[in-house]
Subunit: 207 residues, 3 copies
Amino acid sequence: MSYLLIIECLAVVASAIYGVLLAARKGMDVVGVFSVAFAVAFGGGTLRDLFLDRTPLFWIGNPHYPIIVFGIALFSGVILRFIRHIKPLLLLPDSLGMALFCLTGIGYAMEAGTNPFVAVLLGVITGTFGGVLGDVICNEEPSLFKPSPLNATCAFAGGWVYLGLLQIEVPGEVATIVGIAVIVAFRLAAVKWNWSFPAIREPRNPT
Amino acid sequence: MSYLLIIECLAVVASAIYGVLLAARKGMDVVGVFSVAFAVAFGGGTLRDLFLDRTPLFWIGNPHYPIIVFGIALFSGVILRFIRHIKPLLLLPDSLGMALFCLTGIGYAMEAGTNPFVAVLLGVITGTFGGVLGDVICNEEPSLFKPSPLNATCAFAGGWVYLGLLQIEVPGEVATIVGIAVIVAFRLAAVKWNWSFPAIREPRNPT
Amino acid sequence: MSYLLIIECLAVVASAIYGVLLAARKGMDVVGVFSVAFAVAFGGGTLRDLFLDRTPLFWIGNPHYPIIVFGIALFSGVILRFIRHIKPLLLLPDSLGMALFCLTGIGYAMEAGTNPFVAVLLGVITGTFGGVLGDVICNEEPSLFKPSPLNATCAFAGGWVYLGLLQIEVPGEVATIVGIAVIVAFRLAAVKWNWSFPAIREPRNPT
């Protein structure tokens, strides 16, 4: 399944851009910007590779990945001077990076022969962990665990769509593109219309 | 040592129940509840498997574990509506999960041929890391590192009791039950009578 | 390259001393002090070994390392009663532990045949991750991600010096000593004169 490599490369680029924007918004210096970009771009895939015992890690076996991230971090210093509002730019690379990494997680897990439920979980972990790391480094409360933005839910739903399409023997490339479109569209819609689940139980004052 | 598998399965159930209660108290939605249950139930054992280079990870090789945790998280939505006070329910599954996971850590470490001191440390890490992750996700200060509840100390002491019994050739099943009883009893006593160690050095104002 | 083992042992001792001082300043008890010392001394090297798929982990394969850290944590209880101001004592073991661990990361990465850029990144991760963990456990904002102290930059620069010297066939021992000296001197200078990089982009109020 060599198209997974293309997906992974795009995932690294999208996540690195998201990480750079996140760190720049916080007023970090170039080292901080690179650190956040690196953590966001490689955090999820590193967990995936460790959990599936894939060696070498994808960014050690493909050493051009860290160099691409380094280049994006350096280059952003020039571009970012001309950008006034970063916040509206965050959503697209975030959603895209999550969707792309989610599918690489599912793809490699299926290649390793895991159960489909476990494969989808690994996809969700691969897709979301980078963003969690980025939030933690930027000292934000990780948005994954806040009720609103349905990050994990989008990845979970899109992952099942992708697996279902593969099951009915749709070609991998098509299943991938549909899976990514479902995740990104679901996420944009969830943010736009502010979708959320209800609390499983209202927290009461004397808990 | 196949009884370790039974211990592990019970550890997953106890930890998942603890994770669900912890997340429900915080008013999380069903995705949050599952995430916390998953992190508490699999965090410690995942570190153990990575540190001992055991593959596949226990929740990838036993895919019914994540499905059990998923079921507990869904089912809890019904049960939790009838429960008024969650806090008093937290202590028992927490202590039990910690004790059970601690012994799996020691057992697998000994199987891998580690030094006994390292085996006990791995037991403590396996027993406590899930709870730390759960606290971090719920945005609480991890109670492991606060002076009072003696979590790690109980696991450490019970671990040595377990290893000592194995050394004098008590059967593994008996040693396991005694080890678990020691950890749980020690922990309940430590919480009830508020045992703690003194600070190693009083923090002074001009440090 | 057996001199890497000596470097690693010194790195464990320096990092454990730093961890003990850090935890004692916070008024932790003996278990907290050992936990922080353990996390600082083994955090970075554990990530390094996981990322490079080295087994067993260095503190499992060398079980005297955790025993040394345990001894330092116990012994510190006596020494620390006679010490009034901990803060000025923190910088040297911190810098030294970072420098030593950084070089072990680069050395083992090169042995594993990674690309030089990846090797330096692994050195920086190995050198700094223990300190980040210690800060997180002590509930401090990790100083690595704050603009001022240039931790990662010092490790990055010293790492390239070390690799450059190896490239021109300077003996490993000499390259190591020069690399450590560069990292420690750079770090002490950065703290003393408060060096820092500018923010990549001023954070504006309406971001």
